[in-house]
Amino acid sequence: MSRAAVDVSGLEDSAFGHKGLIWWGTVGYMVIEGSMFLIVFVAYFYLRLRESVWPPSLPNPDVFMPTVNLLVMAVSCLPAHVVKRAAERCDIHGVRRWLLVLTVFATATVVLRALEYPGLNCRWDDNAYASVTWVLLSLHTVHLATDMVDSYVLLAMAHRKPATRKRFVDFAENSLYWYFIVTAFVPIYLTVYWAPRWL
């Protein structure tokens, strides 16, 4: 006697992108964190509407250091992209090389971020403008620092055998998360540093 069967023995172990489970977990958290950013933006502009002058009684934030950081982040998408491509080819040497470059970039962005804070020209407890500015930037800083540490850990993993396909998926999805962090900084940069000048 025989029964109908779906034989899955030939299917790949793990998959890249939306075909794989890890992608769904990563995107799930990106949506959650993106929603959080969005809500803080709403709070920022809600508070803005309550003031006639913005920033109220405080100087504008400096734009030089964050602009440099934005450029560094934009360039860092290149090694992130190459890591993703290498991971999708299961090329461990390419991953090791470019993940190291990405790690250097991630570290640089965190160092630059530390230098951004004095240029905000306010303390979080000065007034509501200062509070929301600090929170918006710090929320992003937490993401930057987390992904920097994540990149260190992945770099260590890349030098550990065996280099399974599942691990290559992790390398690739880390790049996706890095894109998210960089993309999130664009509206944050415009809001924190330019909204006080334009609005």
Partner: protein
């Protein structure tokens, strides 16, 4: 679809033994803390949520004793404030959402034909974070330091000027605890439903219960960041002197209300939508026919999910917002009655055209329909601004939301417990006792909460610890308290039935109700691997539509925790992935997270102190241990 030779009995036995070894639940204390099995975590969530339910219910009973007579001195005002705050907070954040998560964690993998929930270690982590948060809240009550500003903790009352001490901070961090847990579960549910369904279970064959859980998960993902933000702002205002809600420095107290209710109203549907899924599952089984209007039901669930985000201002009608805005929110609040109405009519049509078997689960569903329709009607009245202005913050609102939440969610939930208890434990609950249970609860519920409508219209405000005798509210309050005694009795009957049936109930067999979904095709309780062979689904009602020799998936490894990943739309097999084994790291991470949250109630230095241990536990969690 290929064909395969019938699997010989000895080969089946080998597969079973190997699967039992691969998916084994670890033993001992360390094993208990390390478990990643969805059934174990689901049961823990369920038991923990019901423990919090009982504790919060006891607090409600204490409040009713206090209010039974005018000028009663059973509870003082300070303790009363703490009790009503803990009651509401625990019911919403420690019972209602987690208990629905519990049902999803246990049942969704079984209903979609998977061996576990996606991201099983995250599941373990979420449970312990939830548990520690709940324990923290009740410990504050024992220490006379419990939050005392209501379950939504409005500023400026909850701000640093009017609530010195740490009470409001504990409320804010409780929110963080429970939201971290709920968001994790939401991501797991979405990934499981979209990517781990058995082949053949295309989107239009997903059980309505699973659809409901999916909608709930999406609502959690989009709603809960708002409440985390609102409570974090509150904590920052109190701890490090930010000014989000301080009008003197450019902040705004109404910002808190907007953020809170942008979450708070969807929260009602986060609790209620899963209950709708349970109602559909029970009606399908106990009428022996598919629910009328599957597509309409799914669309109604999704529509509820969307519209639920557009109503939050109806909680703020008395705050002086512009009239035009209020008009929109009135309309939106009334529109949401449409998808609810669609579902009610579909259920009534199903009952009408089916052959209902009036076992306990169906009784609870019928009770739900009666109570929920009343709650919906009072909801429509509250959507009207002039009426809302009159009864805002009165017992009319208390009556309304208990009709919607207790009637709309707890009645189906208890029906669901009666329905799935045999699957979870392998034993049936007493149907006779269940019917007694239903009638005591149904009568008790209405005697408790119906008089509150009148009290509200007569002007009795909520959250007062007593009232003068000459207000004339004594009789209705006494009736309400008598109803609460019946509710306590009903709760005791339910617990007795659960405990007694767990140890001495008759064996249930695989499918005691002739259920339609996949969980009824496997043994009760399910084996650790759920399905010996991942099934191939042949119809919308997977158990009813099975052929005599149903097709299965072959080729999955049984010597490790390998699972099948399928395509989103049609669930075609796509790839395989090995699930992680049990480990202590998620528990360790939950401990560090909890210490961090509790520490940050007292000092901002908890943040830098927690970074290193948090990083260590996370690295331990994610560090790969796969074999070559």
């Amino acid at each position: 679809m290929a064909t395969a030779d019938a699997i010989p009995a000895d080969e089946e036995a080998r597969i079973r033994v190997e699967l039992e070894r691969s998916w084994a639940v670890p033993r001992g204390l360390i094993g208990w803390l390390s478990v990643v099995d969805h059934r174990s975590i689901g049961r823990r969530y369920l038991v923990t949520a019901f423990v919090f339910f009982v504790l919060a219910g006891v607090l409600a009973a204490l409040m009713r004793i206090q209010l039974a007579f005018p000028e009663n001195t059973f509870l003082g005002p300070d303790l009363y404030n703490q009790i009503f705050t803990i009651h509401g907070t625990a019911m919403m954040f420690l019972f209602a959402v987690p208990v629905m998560d519990a049902m999803a964690i246990y049942l969704v993998p079984l209903m979609v034909g998977a061996r576990n929930l996606a991201f099983p270690r995250l599941n373990t982590y979420s449970y312990f974070v939830y548990l520690f948060g709940g324990v923290m809240l009740f410990v504050t009550l024992l220490l006379n330091s419990a939050p005392d500003v209501g379950w939504f903790s409005y500023v400026p009352l909850a701000g640093p000027d009017y609530s010195p001490g740490k009470r409001a901070d504990f409320w804010a961090q409780l929110i963080t605890f429970t939201e971290v847990a709920a968001l994790a579960v939401a991501v797991e549910i979405v990934a499981t439903v979209f990517k781990m369904r058995a082949p053949g279970m295309s989107l239009n064959r997903i059980p309505l219960f699973v659809w409901a859980m999916l909608v709930m998960a999406f609502m959690v993902i989009f709603a809960m960041p708002a409440v985390v933000t609102s409570s974090s702002f509150l904590l920052l205002d109190r701890l490090v002197g930010t000014h989000f809600y301080n009008p003197a420095e450019g902040g705004d107290a109404l910002l808190f209300q907007h953020l809170f209710w942008f979450f708070g109203h969807p929260e009602v549907y986060i609790i209620f939508v899963p209950a709708l899924g349970m109602v559909s599952a029970i009606i399908t089984t106990f009428t022996g026919r598919p629910v009328v209007g599957y597509t309409a039901m799914v669309l109604a669930l999704v529509a509820t999910g969307f519209i639920g985000f557009g109503l939050w201002v109806h909680h703020m009608f008395t705050t002086g917002l512009p009239q035009l805005g209020l008009t929109y929110f009135t309309a939106a609040s009334m529109i949401i009655a449409i998808p609810s109405g669609v579902q009610i009519f579909c259920w009534i049509a199903s009952l009408w055209r089916g052959r209902p078997r009036f076992h306990t689960p169906l009784l609870f569903v019928l009770g739900f329909i009666a109570i929920f329709v009343l709650g919906g009607l009072s909801g429509v009245t509250l959507a009207s601004v002039p009426f809302n202005l009159q009864v805002h913050d009165t017992y009319y609102v208390v009556a309304h939301f208990h009709y919607v939440l207790l009637g709309g969610a707890v009645f189906p939930l208890i029906g669901g417990i009666y329905y799935w208890f045999p699957k979870i434990t392998g034993r049936l609950m007493s149907d006779a006792l269940g019917k007694v249970n239903f009638w005591v609860l149904f009568i008790g519920f209405n005697v408790t909460f119906f008089p509150m409508h009148f009290l509200g219209v007569q002007g009795m405000p909520r959250r007062v610890y007593t009232y003068p005798a000459n207000m004339g509210w004594g009789t209705l309050n006494l009736i309400s308290t008598a109803g609460a005694a019946l509710l306590v009795l009903g709760g005791a009957v339910f617990l007795y039935n659960v405990v007694r049936s767990y140890s001495a109930g008759p064996p249930a067999g695989d499918d005691p109700w002739r259920g339609d979904s996949l969980e009824w095709t496997i043994s009760s309780p399910p084996p650790v691997y759920n399905f010996l062979h991942i099934p191939v689904v042949e119809g919308r009602h997977a158990a009813w539509d099975r052929s005599p020799d149903p097709p299965v998936v072959t080729g999955l490894r049984t010597d490790c925790r390998e699972v099948l990943v399928t395509a989103v739309m049609d669930a075609e097999p796509d790839n395989k992935v090995e699930f992680p084994s049990p480990t202590i790291w998620p528990f360790a991470c939950a401990v560090v997270t909890s210490l961090f949250f509790i520490g940050s109630v007292f000092t901002p230095w908890a943040v830098p102190v927690a970074v290193a241990p948090l990083a260590v536990t996370l690295i331990g969690w994610f560090w790969p241990k796969e074999r070559r």
